[in-house]
Assembly symmetry: C2
Homo-oligomer: 200 residues x 2
Amino acid sequence: MTDPQDLWPDVRPDAAKRLMAAAVDAFADRGFHATTTRDIATAAGMSPAALYVHFPSKAAVLFAISRTGHERALAMVETAAAGPGDAAARMRVLVARFTTWHATRHRVARIVQYELHALRPADFDVVADLRRRTERAVRDLIAEGAAAGVFTAPDTPTAARAILSLCVDVARWYTPESKPDPGTLGERYAELVMAMLGAR
Amino acid sequence: MTDPQDLWPDVRPDAAKRLMAAAVDAFADRGFHATTTRDIATAAGMSPAALYVHFPSKAAVLFAISRTGHERALAMVETAAAGPGDAAARMRVLVARFTTWHATRHRVARIVQYELHALRPADFDVVADLRRRTERAVRDLIAEGAAAGVFTAPDTPTAARAILSLCVDVARWYTPESKPDPGTLGERYAELVMAMLGAR
DNA sequence: TAGCTTCCTAAGCGCTTGCTTAGTCGCTGT
DNA sequence: ACAGCGACTAAGCAAGCGCTTAGGAAGCTA
C-alpha cells in the first residue's frame, strides 16, 4: 500500500526510483542534514558512489522529492477547488483530500513541509512558487464563499493559514499506528473546517 | 522586545545565556544538524571551545532550550485550563495565549516543535512527557466542555489534535513581518476554535 | 606577593562528510 | 566475436565536524 515509488512513475531507471524512495525514508526519519549519502545508497542496496550516477548531488535528490511532492499537492488542491458544487462543497473535498494525503504520504509530506530550509536558494524559489499557488487557491475559495454568503469568514488570509496549518501539521504527528485512518481523519477535519468557516 | 534571554532568567553565568540565545537563532534558522558549534560560539562572541566550558555537548544545548521551552508552554496551557469561567471561556484564553506565544517566540517554538528528532533518546523522553501533559490538558478541557454541553465536539482526541496543530503550526510560518500581530492572531485563532467546537 | 578559582582561547586530534576517480561488469547490436 | 554503452563499485581525497588539551588572563583572598 502507498508505495512511495508510485509517486514517480516516469523516473528512470528503476535504481533512481529506489534511491529516491530510500532518501524519502531517511530524510523523513532523521532530516536532510542528519542523513548521509551512504545511508541513502546503502538503504537502496548500492554502494555509496551509485547515488552520483543518477543524481549530481545529495541536494538534487532532496529537490527531486520536494518538487514532485509540491506539484502533487498543488494539483490536488487546484482540482478540488475547480470541482462541482458550491464553495462549501468544494472546500470540504479540498480539506478532506489534502488532509488524507498528508496522513497517507506522511513521509513525503514531512519533507515537503519541513525540509524547505535545506533546499538550495534556486530550488527553494521553484517550490516557493508552487506553495504560493497552493495558498492562493485556498484563499480564493474562501473569498468566493464569503462573497456568495456561504461562509462567515472574518479574515480571509488568516482563515486560509488556519486551514492549511490544520492539514499540513498532520504530516508532523501522523504515523501508520495513528487513529483514525487517513480517510476518516480527512472527513473529520473537513467537518471541523466547515464549522470554522461558519458554512451554513 | 521579546529578548530570548529573558526566557532563562536563572541561567548563570551570563555567557551561558548568550550561548543559548545564539543557539536558538542558529537552530531556528538552519536546524540543529546544519548548525556547527563554531556557529554558536562565534555568534555569542566567543571562541569555539568556550561552548564546552558551559555545556558538555552541542546536544545538551539543544536539550536545555527544548526542555525550558516545553516547560513554559505546558505551564501556560495548564494555567489557562485552570482559570476562571466555563470551558469555552478557558479554551478561548488557552488558544489565544498559546498561539500568541508561538508567534512571539517563533524561534524557540520552532526548536520545541520541529527539532524533536534531534534530541538524544533520554532527552526526548523528558520532553515527550511534557508534551503528553500538554495534550492531555487540552483534551480534558474539550471533554469537560462537551459533558457540560457548551461544545458539540464529535471526537475529542481529533479535536484536540486539530487545536494544537493550529497553534503549533504558527511557529512554522510566522515571521516578525507577518500580519496580523501576535496578539490579534491569537484572538482570531481563538475565535476560529470556538466556531470549530460549536461553542454556543 | 602568592595561591586559588573562574572563564576563556589557541591549537589541533580523530573521524565523518560529500563527492571524485579509475576501472569493472554485463548487456546489446552487428 | 567484439566494440560500445549504461550501470555500478573500490578506494580514497579534501574539507569540515564535534570535541579535547594545555595554558593564560583577570579577579579575589590573605
